[in-house]
Assembly symmetry: C2
Homo-oligomer: 113 residues x 2
């Protein structure tokens, strides 16, 4: 089962930041694979969604990049900047809080009028 894509909306940036916080540096394709692996294929990040997100994080100064050559192929590594580390904490705790609120909302028992 793969989650309907609407669920992923709005969480992608947080997921990427958190992975970078846990892994020091990662490149785009690696991120897609890691998420796939860690979620047992339930979350699949497409490249069309990921790359623009990474570019936006870079434009916002939340990540820095370094390019490496593996044979003839380019690999672009992303790492959190100091402000990126702070942002990650904010985003992760906001999402955790949000999920608690949602669990509460979804568990509300019938009030049969």
């Amino acid at each position: 089962m793969i989650y309907s894509s609407e669920l992923i909306k709005g969480t992608l940036k947080t997921i990427v930041l958190k992975l970078l916080a846990d892994n020091k540096k990662m490149y785009g394709y690696e991120i897609t694979q890691k998420v796939k692996e860690l979620t047992f294929d339930k979350i699949q990040i497409t490249e069309g969604a990921l790359y623009p997100t990474l570019h936006a994080l870079e434009a916002d100064g939340l990540v820095t990049t370094e390019t490496e050559f593996i044979g003839k192929r380019v690999r672009k590594y992303y790492s959190l900047s100091p402000s990126g580390k702070n942002k990650t904490k904010e985003k992760v705790s906001e999402l955790a809080d949000f999920m608690d609120t949602m669990k509460f909302l979804l568990d509300i028992k019938p009030k049969q009028a």
Copy 2:
């Protein structure tokens, strides 16, 4: 604190369906107030987001409507159809599952390379 709007994206439909499942019938404005109340103002659904969503649910046959007059003012009640009830179960359990996956993802401990 109000959640950044991107977090709400993708969950609105599920929230509405779940509220209808718990309350038999509700009207639009009531839904906005109920969500605000149940989440202590942390989730505020705007009318510009809600009404199109309700109309979409109706177009998909997931809810039925009945109009009532309160004095001279119209009130449009929404109720789950049988397929809406099934859809609600699916959506809620998918979201619950998704949140478990996200909690796992967000709690991953550093693997320092």
